[in-house]
């Protein structure tokens, strides 16, 4: 049973439960049975999530977006706008806040929660000015010695006329090269979808953590299926082949830590996950702050240098 099917089934059971209006012992008994059944179905489904399920969860409408993490993990967040070259891309939200009382620069890919929000944030798909804002804020962080936290959640960089005219490829390439040279610690957190080069641009870091049910891939499973089988409906099968889960990426040595999510996914109990992120961030920031800059840069280079070499 896939996750969407499971959600439908649970919804049906919950409706049944709502129809029990009396408080007789028989009603109580039925209520208890139903809620146990629901919990078991859920637990069962989450114990055997397929990669296709993870794709579904990573894009789940109830899954918290970057804004949630900015509000939860950082204090005094002050958003800073614009790339100083063309405009302000609102699919990327960046600024300064404090973590454990110390200033950090936070750069996040923003998906909206509603259609209106998504129109503002372009469904989390950046244009070149978004990536150039990333570079500007990163260099600013470097100047003031602030660590950088990148939050990744995008279907990919936007494929459009304006994006090409303004050099989408160049903007991403600059992110890749310049983050490798930044003399401050960089930590990346994949919270939902890590789509292609558009996500990679924010991934050059000293530590990448990935939420248990988030995904990261070279292209969307739909895109993959339509290239491989000329049928985007076979995305589930594609997801199976692509090795796009947090666990797969950990195995490849691309991701450094996987942050656990509760049964039901992060949206059913966000604190469960954000507490762990906070702990991990504290630990890693401390470790990285103790490193000499030359070693920090060498380790960052080596990490990416080693990927794909047998």
């Amino acid at each position: 049973m896939s996750l969407p099917e499971m959600e439908k089934q649970i919804k049906g059971l919950q409706q049944q439960m709502a129809q029990i209006t009396m408080d007789t012992p028989a009603d109580e008994k039925l209520r208890l049975e139903l809620s146990t059944l629901i919990a078991n179905i859920k637990k069962d489904a989450y114990e055997r999530l397929t990669p296709g399920d993870k794709v579904y969860l990573a894009r789940h409408p109830l899954r918290p977006n970057a804004k949630y993490y900015i509000d939860t993990l950082f204090e005094d967040f002050t958003e800073l706008h614009g790339d100083r070259l063309y405009g302000d891309d609102q699919s990327i939200m960046g600024g300064i806040g404090t973590f454990d009382g110390k200033p950090v620069t936070v750069i996040a890919q923003m998906k909206g929660k509603t259609l209106e929000e998504n129109l503002v944030h372009n469904f989390g798909m950046p244009h070149p000015e978004g990536y150039r804002k990333v570079i500007r804020l990163a260099r600013q962080a470097e100047k003031f010695g602030r660590p950088i936290i990148n939050i990744i959640d995008t279907p990919g960089a936007y494929p459009g006329i304006g994006a090409e005219e303004r050099g989408q490829a160049e903007a991403i390439a600059q992110c890749l090269m310049q983050f490798m040279e930044l003399k401050v610690p960089v930590i990346a957190i994949v919270i939902g979808e890590g789509g292609s080069g558009g996500a990679l641009a924010l991934s050059i870091s000293d530590h990448i953590m990935m939420l248990e049910h988030s995904i990261y891939s070279v292209l969307s499973p739909e895109g993959f299926a339509s290239i491989l089988w000329k049928d985007s409906a076979r995305a589930g099968e594609a997801a199976q082949l692509m090795k796009l889960t947090a666990q797969d990426l950990k195995e490849f040595g691309i991701v450094d830590s996987v942050i656990k999510e509760p049964v039901g996914g992060i949206h059913s109990w966000p604190d469960f996950t954000t507490t762990q992120i906070r702990e991990k961030l504290t630990e890693e920031l401390e470790k990285l702050a103790a490193q000499k800059t030359s070693l920090l840069l060498q380790n960052r280079y080596k990490k990416f240098r080693a990927i794909g070499v047998e």
């Binding site: 494929p159 090409e164 050099g167 490798m180 993959f224």
Partner: protein
């Protein structure tokens, strides 16, 4: 009869090679066997030798035929100076993707190369360079772990030996059969280019048809000097993906070399017949010393 033609062709090529004192190009990529060739752009039929003699450019309409890596090397690198690196590096199938090994095998036989890029050291007009030539006849020039590794290793070697770097780019992007590992090659190659850059060394990127996706969004766009052959498709997203997204047809010339020059992302669009001279001139302008 056909063997007679072939003999005549070889003689002619030999003559021309003697005359121009260079080895005759022996490989034909886009140009199939036969004495005559029809240009896919202007549809004029002409002697194949005429195309080859014009650096694989149609003398009538300037169409630049796609080149095989070996052809590019013959057109660009001084004869006898190229020393290849990692020629035997072969891709595995890290994700166990069905059908991938067959495709690799097919293109190995087709091109006589093990991968979609040839790297090495050589001289261009006497100037020593670290050279990478991508080949779009090998899995669309897509970048998997081996392509990424070869380009990274070459760039690191260039940094170590204080050599300028030139990469002839052509690629459909990341090699999707290698999934996330191919995506990560963008990071790796860009990192190596960054170190080469920090040493104050020259990197010339030559963008040829087509240069898109993960290659365009990494080392292809990081040159100190970015040259492009005329009318090459260059961009991040493929035109079809863009059309599907925005649901309209794209304007004429969109994502072509001239468009990129106009928008400020290419330094100079250079005809293939002038490319070697341009590289030599740029080398001189960077104070390099010619050898041999």
């Amino acid at each position: 009869m056909s063997s007679l033609f072939k003999e005549r062709k070889e003689m002619l090529l030999g003559f021309k090679a003697l005359r121009s004192n260079k080895k005759a190009p022996q490989f034909t990529g886009e140009i199939p066997d036969g004495l005559y060739e029809k240009c896919p752009s202007c549809e004029k039929t002409m002697l194949k030798e005429d195309i080859v003699e014009h650096s694989f450019v149609c003398p009538h309409c300037n169409h630049h035929f796609r080149l095989r890596a070996a052809e590019r090397l013959q057109l660009t690198v001084d004869p006898g100076t190229f020393k290849e690196l990692m020629s035997s590096a072969k891709s595995g199938n890290p994700l166990e993707m069905p059908g991938y090994e067959e495709k690799l095998q097919r293109d190995r036989s087709k091109t006589g190369q093990n991968e979609a890029v040839v790297t090495g050291f050589g001289r261009i007009g006497g100037y020593p360079y670290a050279i990478a030539v991508m080949d779009s006849y090998f899995l669309m020039g897509s970048m998997g772990a081996v392509v990424g590794e070869k380009i990274t290793a070459l760039t690191e070697a260039a940094t170590k030996r204080k050599l300028p770097l030139i990469i002839f780019c052509t690629s459909g992007g990341a090699r999707m059969q290698e999934g996330i590992l191919s995506l990560m090659q963008m990071a790796k190659t860009s990192a190596a280019i960054g170190r080469h850059n920090q040493e104050g060394l020259l990197y010339i990127a030559v963008l040829t048809h087509p240069t898109t996706g993960g290659v365009s969004a990494s080392f292809a766009m990081l040159g100190d000097i970015t040259l492009a052959e005329p009318d090459a498709l260059i961009g991040f997203a493929g035109p079809r993906v863009i059309e599907q997204t925005i649901k309209q047809t794209l304007p004429e010339g969109f994502q072509r070399s001239e468009f990129l020059q106009e928008r400020g992302f290419v330094d100079k669009v250079v005809n293939r017949n002038d490319l070697k001279e341009t590289i030599i001139k740029l080398s001189r302008l960077h104070g390099m010393e010619a050898k041999g």
